[in-house]
């Protein structure tokens, strides 16, 4: 279970202060797949960063009773100046996995071949998405935090993601930020709509989508 209690988070904006999250409350249970909806700049990424512990909230707290992945996106979680292999090695080391296993999974899942020997900063966004997913799927988590990235890959990648995330890891919880309502309606059980710094939870995904589309 992951619980957010009255989260506040703001950033400096010139001489002022821009409060992005103004008291967000939400609960995600084990095995639940939750969509995070909101317009650009509503605070979806900010919220995911607080849940993942990348940034710390100004006030309020995040209670984690299951392991969660780092936010899976185009950046973060890996280093641009290092090669794909070096990143895999680093992740394997800090999460205490063997590199051989990690390497095999990454090669197999990303199908990037010799590009894995190149620095990640030379990758296209599709390639980054593949690597980001491979690195986090190679470590088993109870809850995956996914920031947009799922929809950028080609068909083959999307099929693979689907098989790994919803097939083999169908019992895991997920928090997915996205603008693609078809995918969301397909994949998620519940929806959370972020608007004006607060979150509204809908137990029925269709209601959440309707609310989001009405914004």
């Amino acid at each position: 279970m992951i619980i957010c209690e009255n989260l506040h988070k703001g950033y400096r904006a010139g001489h002022g202060w821009n409060e992005v999250l103004k008291g967000v409350n939400l609960t995600v249970n084990k095995g639940e797949r939750v969509a995070l909806l909101g317009r650009n700049g509503a605070g979806k990424s900010t919220l995911i960063k607080q849940i993942g512990g990348v940034e710390l909230p100004d006030s309020g707290r995040v209670i984690r009773k299951m392991t969660n992945s780092w936010p899976i996106g185009f950046n973060g979680g890996f280093q641009g100046s290092l090669t794909g292999y070096d990143n895999a090695r680093f992740i394997a080391r800090i999460y205490g996995r063997t590199y051989a296993e990690m390497r095999e999974f990454v090669e197999d899942f990303t199908e990037l071949g010799s590009s894995l020997k190149m620095p990640v900063k030379t990758y296209s966004s599709g390639m980054r998405a593949r690597l980001a997913f491979a690195l986090s799927l190679a470590i088993e988590f109870d809850c995956y935090l996914i920031d947009e990235v799922i929809l950028v890959g080609d068909q083959n990648f999307q099929r693979k993601c689907h098989a790994e995330l919803f097939g083999r890891r169908g019992d895991r919880a997920m928090i997915i930020a996205s603008h693609d309502m078809n995918t969301i309606a397909d994949m998620c059980d519940r929806g959370i709509v972020l608007h004006n710094g607060t979150a509204t939870t809908f137990d029925n995904i269709a209601d959440a989508v309707a609310e989001y589309e009405g914004l």
Partner: protein, 260 residues
């Protein structure tokens, strides 16, 4: 106990992984690779040592001038490099915060350890190299070199702990720190034995914590003839409170860190 052992396990794993990563990104895998970490302090110490030898002759305060310069310069360069590398290091390594087992302190510790190892290697290699040519004495007591090194390094780390978070808080501080590092030069104890100073100057300079470590190291190297002046307690009485302040500042800045 189990969770403590577990925590230690994660900590050592993280530090190890970060060190390897830092070494690959900084020095690459080409030519001599990570051995570069000792080249800079070595060149520095040797250049200054030989320059002094040609300018001032073979002895300084009754000991070999090249050994005197090297033994003073290497710790000083350590101080300068650690502080420079600690500034803005949290922002530069913000990406690590995606992994919750990595703390900002790990970033600082890793940068410090890499410099420390590099400078220790430089000290050792210079000692052996110069020793072959009779320009470096056989150490009088290696234990005191290590103890003095530990005292000196503790001071360096304590300052880094304070400077790193402050550099993230204030742009002004970030800009003036490199200049203020030069003020440290006379207070490092690198350029004179305390016993060679006037009593008034010696009194003042002993307020500087790293001087004590430097005197210990040089006592271990040159022996009692240099009449070393140091205290075991005073440097700790400065460094430990400084470290507490640094830790609090690091905690404070972690809350404010904005990560892409």
């Amino acid at each position: 106990m189990a969770s403590l052992a577990n925590g230690w396990d994660i900590q050592t794993r993280v530090i190890g992984a970060l060190m390897l990563r830092e070494l690959t990104t900084r020095f690459g895998r080409e030519n001599i690779g990570f051995l570069w970490i000792m080249v800079e302090p070595m060149l520095f110490a040797l250049l200054v040592g030989f320059l002094w030898r040609f300018m001032k002759g073979p002895l300084e305060f009754g000991v070999d001038i090249v050994a005197f310069a090297a033994s003073g310069y290497i710790p000083l360069v350590l101080f300068r490099s650690v502080i420079t590398r600690s500034m803005m290091s949290f922002t530069a390594n913000g990406g690590f915060m995606y992994h919750r087992q990595i703390k900002v302190l790990d970033i600082l510790l890793v940068r410090f350890l890499i410099e420390l190892i590099g400078h220790m290697m430089a000290y050792l290699v210079i000692g052996l190299m110069l020793g072959v040519f009779g320009l470096f004495p056989q150490p009088y007591d290696i234990g005191f070199i290590l103890l003095g090194g530990a005292y000196y390094a503790l001071f360096v780390f304590a300052v880094a702990l304070v400077v790193a978070p402050l550099s993230e808080m204030s742009e002004v501080l970030e800009k003036i720190t490199p200049v203020s590092l030069y003020i440290m030069i006379p207070f490092s104890g690198a350029f004179a034995f305390v016993s060679a100073l006037s009593p008034a100057a010696a009194n003042v300079i002993l307020y500087s914590p790293p001087v004590h470590g430097m005197e210990m190291m040089r006592y271990g190297l040159f022996g009692p003839s240099i009449d070393p002046q140091f205290d075991y307690v005073y440097p700790l009485a400065v460094c430990l409170p400084l470290m507490v302040v640094g830790l609090l500042l690091c905690r404070l800045i972690r809350r404010r860190l904005v990560i892409e």
